[in-house]
């Protein structure tokens, strides 16, 4: 009998890699998640602790997928602390994905928001010219730079920004994105990270007429378009998103302003 894809299936953690002092990547074997599209996510069950949405990180091993998690509340900490050999449950992948255009792409990410961008890079056509802007507060928190370069030796320009200037360009990644967009030449912008950063990137791209998409986070309970916790205006981030076009987001009264708390209350950012 076929297993319902919405029932968590248990996977064994095969490797754990520290990316920064607070971010780890956990790898596991899963053919279906391994072929997720960029922007899609899984619901990840940490037995006895909780379940949370996670973008599906690429692996360099065929048939493997991974999660890159930052220590935060109970569940992300539980996932972060799952050792090699530990069990996690996964269901998904859920949601839509980035629409990868030809030409020159600007990718703007921060923190674990880089995860869908890494998958985008891994699935991009060979002739796409990619500039990856990676923002962090400080040099300690920068990760995935080498990984991206290894995944794609050609036609990838990795640019790091740090708020405190300890690595790469000093300043905010959205400012750097604006600067790069000002220089022109981009056919598309893809962004994932803190919502206020994304709001600025979307506005900058649109003001210059450049196609832009953002992958959005919301509180998620079901991932199935049932519970409503992820709603953003009349849309559901889990099934209508996670990726939305800039033109759609520009009209949104919620994007960059408010999300639903666990009780469902609209809560300002």
């Amino acid at each position: 009998m076929q297993q319902n894809p919405n029932v968590p299936s248990v996977r064994t953690v095969l490797s754990v890699t520290d990316e920064t002092p607070t971010v780890r990547t956990l790898e596991f074997a899963d053919d279906i998640l391994a072929s997720s599209r960029p922007g899609q996510f899984a619901m990840v069950w940490v037995p006895r602790i909780g379940e949370l949405p996670m973008s599906v990180m690429v692996s360099e091993t065929r048939g493997n997928a991974a999660f890159t998690v930052r220590v935060h509340g109970a569940t992300s900490t539980g996932l972060y602390n799952t050792p090699v050999g530990g069990a996690i449950g996964v269901r998904g992948p859920y949601g839509n994905s980035f629409d990868i255009r030809r030409g020159r792409a600007l990718l703007v990410g921060g923190g674990t928001g880089l995860v869908p961008l890494m998958r985008l890079i891994s699935q991009a056509p060979d002739d796409l010219e990619i500039t990856l802007l990676m923002g962090a507060r400080t040099s300690d928190e920068v990760f995935f730079g080498q990984r991206a370069a290894r995944m794609r030796p050609d036609r990838l320009d990795v640019v790091v920004t740090t708020d405190d200037g300890t690595l790469g360009v000093a300043g905010n990644v959205a400012d750097e994105a604006a600067r790069r967009l000002g220089d022109g030449g981009f056919d598309a912008v893809y962004t994932c990270g803190p919502e206020l950063m994304m709001r600025r990137v979307v506005d900058e791209a649109r003001s210059r007429g450049v196609f832009v998409q953002a992958s959005i986070e919301r509180v998620m309970k079901c991932g199935l378009g049932i519970c409503g916790s992820c709603c953003m205006d009349s849309h559901l981030v889990c099934t209508d998103g996670t990726v939305f076009d800039g033109d759609h987001l520009a009209k949104s009264g919620d994007f960059g302003y408010a999300y639903r708390s666990k009780s469902g209350k609209s809560t300002p950012y």
Binding site: Q3, N4, P5, N6, V7, P8, V10, M43, W45, P47, R48, G50, E51, L52, A74, T75, A87, G89, R91, K221, C222, G223, L224, G225, I226, C227, G228, S229, C231, D233, S234, L236, T239, D240, R260, S261, K262, S263, G264, K265, S266
Partner: protein
């Protein structure tokens, strides 16, 4: 000329017989507007309580390995007052407000919050199977049901529906108590108490351990409840439980429902289910020569 899909559930007049079930996407007026635009005859809000509730920790909603769904969201909701202030901003979106509470004062207080909102009815959740002190624990207390329904009827001129489910008492006694206290309709049924255990880790999957089973698996049970309530007679019925196709909806109407609610079938983004079910009911009515939903209600008992 297409057949009219309008239906009356007691005093409640609907343009189509398909409604959004409570707890499904029920926290945002924008989403309600979208669902009405898809053809739903009415939308029911998430069950609201006097205070905001965070609900249980995830996992709260998962698939059940038989095509159904298992949830224990724990009635998370922003509270009646907060919800009412959201509704006031969208007077063009009519809603049925679902209420949950432990005793009459809870319900009276909440109804008074919605005075200036576009509320076309109240549904009393007497049947949530996984939250202590409310839901089924209320529904199983027949005497309390009567008091609550009576209090809400006195507090509002709007239609009042009592939502029942399979608890540890005889649900038909709950129906009778609600009818006797003046309920305008019965919604049947809520989810059925159930659970999932993961064999690999030997752990119950839902954080609350127990949850409610919904979707296709409960359909034959829900259909039987609607039929039994219709056999009892004396009250309009809204059928709910596992409806995902026009054929399911027609079966519930033939069993005795004047309208149906759809929940789990929206899973995976299938908000188009309302227009599909409505279109199918319309085709069925044309083919069988029915000119109104009312002519189909309860036909299976007359065969």
């Amino acid at each position: 000329m297409p057949v009219p899909l309008s239906t009356n559930v007691g005093p409640l007049e609907l343009e189509s017989p398909t409604m959004l079930a409570s707890g499904i996407l029920g926290i945002s007026t924008e989403v309600f507007g979208r669902i009405l635009g898809e053809g739903a005859g009415a939308v029911v809000t998430k069950s609201l309580s006097t205070e905001p509730w965070e609900g249980y920790a995830n996992p709260t909603v998962i698939g059940a390995d038989n095509g159904g769904m298992l949830n224990a969201v724990g009635l998370s909701n922003p509270g009646a007052a907060e919800f009412a202030s959201m509704l006031k901003k969208s007077p063009d979106v009519p809603v049925i407000v679902s209420l949950v509470g432990s005793a009459e004062p809870d319900f009276e207080a909440m109804v008074s919050e919605f005075k200036d909102c576009n509320v076309i009815g109240y549904e009393l959740n007497l049947s949530c199977p996984h939250v202590a002190k409310v839901g089924l624990e209320v529904g199983d207390d027949v005497e309390l049901v009567g008091r609550i329904v009576g209090a809400v009827k006195r507090a509002t001129p709007s239609p009042v529906m009592a939502k029942v489910g399979l608890g540890s008492a005889n649900y038909m006694d709950t129906v009778t108590a609600a009818v006797d206290a003046g309920a305008d309709a019965i919604t049947a049924i809520n989810t059925i108490r159930a659970m999932a255990i993961d064999a690999d880790t030997a752990v119950p999957v839902l954080s609350n351990k127990f949850g409610g089973l919904s979707g296709a698996p409960i359909k034959p049970i829900a259909l039987r409840c609607v039929y039994e309530i219709a056999e009892r007679g004396g009250i309009p019925i809204i059928g709910c439980g596992g409806i995902s196709t026009w054929r399911d909806a027609v079966e519930f109407i033939l069993a005795g429902a004047s309208a149906v609610q759809i929940g789990s079938a929206l899973s995976g983004g299938r908000t188009g289910v309302f227009s599909q079910v409505n279109a199918g009911i319309g085709r069925y009515m044309e083919q069988k020569g029915h000119s109104a939903i009312s002519g189909m209600v309860g036909l299976a008992a007359k065969s």
